[in-house]
């Protein structure tokens, strides 16, 4: 590939390359951020299914053992992560391959295995890192796990007292990763 000169300015003729503004996307396969009291790694291979409508009926049909979790709550195993009163992301150990569309039971299903990037934030300072990303009252919690996290909409809950899980729209995952990389400490 020829060497490319990156120039500044907005004139098309001068060849401004907007990529210069943005840190390249990480190689997710080996990506990790490790600090003395917290660490971050991407999680691959989880099943994610977006559900709307009768969530109880959907859970009974798709993952009857799934626990339900909202903001900062601890979910164990398969979990129904609430987004709104009638919307949730079903997170499972493996993709469900549930058919997309309408169920006669009264819920809508869409595959979301690749829609959200999943990042695990662990360590005794995980809570402190989250506090930099959001002004939400995590201890007070919320039935909905959706919040603005570092300025973008995410789902935030825990899988252990000091292990948080963040789901972020895939297009914003490189931004959030870069944001976490630059957290001090």
């Amino acid at each position: 590939m020829a060497e490319k000169t990156v120039r500044t300015g907005w004139d098309l003729k001068r060849g401004y390359d907007a990529a210069a503004k943005w840190t390249p996307t990480p190689d997710w396969r080996g990506a990790a951020i490790v600090r003395s009291s917290w660490s971050v790694r991407p999680l691959h291979g989880l099943g994610q299914t977006l559900l709307s409508g009768d969530l109880d009926a959907a859970r009974a049909a798709l993952a009857p053992n799934a626990s339900e979790a909202g903001l900062w709550q601890v979910a164990e195993g398969d979990a129904l992560i609430r987004i709104a009163r009638d919307r949730a992301l079903l997170v499972t150990a493996r993709p469900l391959s549930a058919p997309a569309g309408w169920s006669p039971g009264g819920w809508a299903t869409s595959a979301a295995d690749d829609a959200w990037a999943v990042i695990e934030l662990a360590g005794e300072s995980a809570r402190a890192v989250c506090a930099q990303a959001t002004s939400a009252d995590l201890e007070a919690g919320s039935p909905s796990a959706a919040l603005l996290f570092a300025g973008v909409t995410c789902l935030l809950y825990r899988t252990a007292p000091e292990t948080a899980r963040i789901h972020v729209e895939r297009g914003f995952a490189p931004y959030l990763w870069r944001w976490l990389e630059t957290v001090e400490g």
């Binding site: 098309l12 990529a19 409508g53 997309a100 569309g101 869409s110 995952a173």
Partner: protein
């Protein structure tokens, strides 16, 4: 516990809270902590106030509590979230967002000015400020000083200044004031300031009918408690006659405005005991009188005088909220700190109401102006307004892409290190001659699911959608409620209960929002749902005469005959063990296939398609070449080739307006007088002689009665490598009736000519869609 203010009350509260075992954050807007203890004499627990304050701070820090100096609590937000701006010397300022279990507001009080003629003269200043200068900076503000007051607090100031060597006279507005104090100060009882003499500063003060030579006039109109944080938290206020001030009328959950610091801190430990000579605060209100010849300033920051308040009353802006907006009283930096009480008291007097009957304006954050960089915090550079990133970004970088931001996404503008125009033209030619591959992943893929899905997509669209057969696709517009084109796109029908709305990349959040809004407001929200599946799928579009050959090489197990998969149809299949969808839609006018796979399969699909493209002589296609190709066909980009007035019939598309039954968003607005106006701007093409494209944005003009006026503008303009000539799109008044007409255009003083032509400049019969 968050304690706001490190004066005696705040320190007492913090000390008691710490003694109770709580975790304390103490913030104060001053660099040195102690509040009034730093300039007023006091003895606490047998020690000078300032020593006591320093020991409290030291003890708090030693016990691990956080003490922030130069830190202003500027606002209380939802659920008692407090914003604190901290000035940090040698380092960037910090924004603290503190959500405390309990907030103690010990923010003190602000001395009010007195209102009299020429009270803005240099040398007229707050009495408390003079004491501050004296005790903290050893600065005496004058040698011959008049202290005008209506309360006892100013006497300590006068004594201190006299002790420092100034000649001090006290003009006490209260008739009951003693004419002589023990310290030998001269006191004029019942004396009001009526004038200030001096050109550039104070030379004399007229007070109580006398002329007193002075070089400084200190004023103290009483103290206004700093209740802003309480009021921002929706706390009510009540007027306290004995203080001539508004004070909190109620306790708010989790927020205390101090009367007793020790009690507010939990009451543990021994309360501090203070001895001070400055405790007395007897006051008689001294509110503004009527306007006279000279100006009497109420709001020094916004230049509001008594006369302005009287004018507001005459104009019937008598509510304090109207007064504020009419005069700007208390706005901006003041936020009611010094002006509110005098302003509302003046209005109360003018209108014959009481002060509590007149009320106060609403206190809003921020308490002080906070620099925008502080609020921005880390949201700068690439953390400000981040773009969405393609799953295949690394592959595009490796392929030599030059990126641009399109609709909130970072996307390849073109590929290659040559001149941009050359690379773009090369890509466009390749796509027309063989095949091009475009990363179309950001295009909207919004699923509408449920028994009422058809009704919702119909309501959302200018064109009826639900009459499609499953597996078919329809192009259409989405209109605003004003009938203006919001976006265009295609809708795929999966089943009667499942549709996929595709829209422009930059419009995805907006289209999701409008679908959700109508779902909730017009439909039974249990019968239809909207899922934004855009990030789930990566879409690579292949377009050109060899597109079918390319897709055939992917081995998708699909029949690609035009009978099995005609234009505007789709088919579901599998790729690399994952579900895949192949849709025949075209934004270039050539045969095109959109292949969508889960994002995790994007790299594999990209490899396969790139190899296949190479085999048939194709190449990669950036967004700039796509924009060019679609312009050759006259395909619009909503927001670029339309503006905030363009309706479907301005593009010559009138069928749904004229024939469609039932409601849809924007329908009613298509029949208004304005919508039916005969001189609307309509979308057309422009043909140009020569080889220089028209400047985008150039105005089409016509001369009427010797005056030139704009009749439209160029919306898109390119040098077409396919046609070997420039092409253009424009919005022109009555454009559709001007076909073949030569029009004049102007741009930055240059005049050009072009001929109005059909928007579609290439393959008008559409043969290449199946070519």
């Amino acid at each position: 516990m968050l304690v706001v203010g490190a004066g005696p009350a705040g320190l007492s509260a913090a000390r008691a809270a710490a003694a109770s075992g709580g975790s304390v954050i103490l913030v104060d807007d001053q660099e040195r902590l102690g509040g009034a203890l730093l300039h007023r004499h006091a003895e606490i627990d047998g020690r000078p106030g300032r020593i006591w304050a320093a020991s409290c701070v030291e003890a708090l820090r030693a016990a691990g509590h956080r003490v922030l100096a130069s830190a202003t609590a500027f606002g209380v937000y939802d659920h008692n979230l407090v914003g604190v701006w901290q000035r940090r010397f040698g380092r960037p300022d910090a924004l603290w967002q503190i959500r405390a279990g309990r907030i103690v507001v010990a923010a003190g009080a602000i001395e009010r000015p007195l209102v009299f003629p020429d009270n803005d003269r240099p040398g007229v200043m707050s009495a408390e400020a003079a004491l501050f200068y004296l005790r903290r900076h050893d600065l005496l503000v004058g040698e011959r000083i008049v202290v005008a007051t209506n309360n006892d607090k100013a006497y300590a100031v006068a004594r201190a200044l006299a002790t420092a060597g100034a000649r001090v006279a006290i003009a006490d507005m209260r008739a009951s004031a003693a004419p002589q104090t023990a310290e030998g100060l001269s006191v004029l009882p019942g004396a009001r300031v009526t004038a200030v003499e001096g050109e550039d500063g104070v030379e004399a003060v007229r007070v109580g009918g006398r002329r007193v030579e002075a070089d400084c006039l200190l004023v103290s109109g009483g103290f206004t408690p700093t209740v802003h944080l309480h009021a921002q938290a929706k706390g009510k206020l009540r007027y306290e006659e004995s203080l001539a001030a508004f004070v909190p009328a109620e306790r708010l959950p989790g927020l205390v405005v101090l009367a007793d610091g020790h009690a507010a801190g939990g009451g543990r430990g021994v309360a501090a005991r203070s001895v001070t000579a400055d405790d007395s605060y007897a006051i008689e209100p001294a509110w503004p009188g009527r306007a006279g010849k000279a100006r009497q300033w109420i709001d020094f920051q916004n230049d509001v005088t008594v006369k302005d308040v009287e004018l507001a009353a005459r104009e019937n802006f008598r509510s304090v909220e109207h007064l504020k907006r009419y005069t700007t009283l208390g706005m901006a930096t003041d936020q009611g700190k010094t002006s509110n009480m005098n302003g509302l008291a003046a209005m109360a007097a003018i209108t014959g109401r009481t002060i509590p009957g007149t009320g106060t304006t609403t206190y809003r954050p921020p308490f002080v102006p906070v620099p925008l960089p502080v609020l921005a915090g880390r949201r700068r550079g690439e953390f400000f307004n981040p773009v969405r990133r393609l799953v295949l970004e690394a592959e595009h970088r490796a392929a030599g892409a030059v990126f641009r931001e399109y609709g909130g996404w970072l996307r390849p503008g073109w590929y290659g290190a040559g001149r941009a125009e050359d690379e773009i033209a090369r890509e466009a030619r390749t796509a027309r001659e063989t095949v091009g591959i475009l990363d179309g992943s950001p295009l909207g893929k919004i699923e509408v699911i449920g028994p009422d899905a058809g009704a919702l997509v119909d309501y959302n669209s200018y064109q009826t959608i639900s009459t499609l057969k499953p597996g078919r696709i329809r192009y259409g517009f989405m209109l605003t409620e004003g009938g203006v084109i919001y976006d265009d796109g295609v809708v795929s029908k999966v089943s009667d209960e499942h549709y996929v709305v595709s829209c422009s990349s930059g419009h995805v959040p907006g289209v999701v929002a409008r679908l959700e809004e109508w779902r909730q407001d017009r439909f039974d929200p249990t019968r239809v749902f909207v899922h934004n599946s855009t990030p789930q799928w990566a879409t690579l579009t292949t377009s050109g005469p060899r597109a079918r050959d390319l897709v055939a090489m992917l081995g998708l197990g699909l029949s690609l005959s035009d009978e099995a998969l005609p234009h505007m149809a789709f088919a579901d299949t599998a790729f690399d063990g994952a579900p895949a969808r192949v849709a025949r839609v075209s934004f270039t006018g050539d045969r095109s296939y959109e292949v969508s796979v889960p994002s995790s399969k994007a790299a594999a699909l990209n490899r396969a398609m790139t190899e296949a493209a190479r085999a048939v002589g194709g190449g990669l296609l950036g967004s700039e070449a796509l924009l060019l190709l679609r312009a050759e066909k006259g395909y619009i980009i909503a927001g670029k080739d339309t503006d905030g007035t363009t309706m479907p019939h301005d593009l010559g598309i009138t069928g749904p307006r004229d024939r469609r039954q039932g409601e849809y968003v924007g329908k009613r607005s298509l029949f208004t007088e304005n919508a039916l106006r005969p001189d609307r701007q309509q979308a057309v093409g422009l043909a140009v002689d020569g080889d220089v494209p028209l400047p985008t944005g150039a105005h089409a003009v016509e001369t009427v009665a010797g005056r030139r006026r704009s009749i439209g503008f160029v919306t898109s303009s390119y040098a077409s490598p396919t046609l070997g000539r420039p092409i253009g799109l424009a919005l022109v008044v009555n454009g559709l009736s001007r076909m073949g007409e030569e029009i004049e255009l102007v741009h930055l003083g240059k005049t050009m000519r072009a001929m109005v032509a059909p928007a579609c400049a290439f393959d008008p019969g559409g043969e290449r869609l199946n070519g």
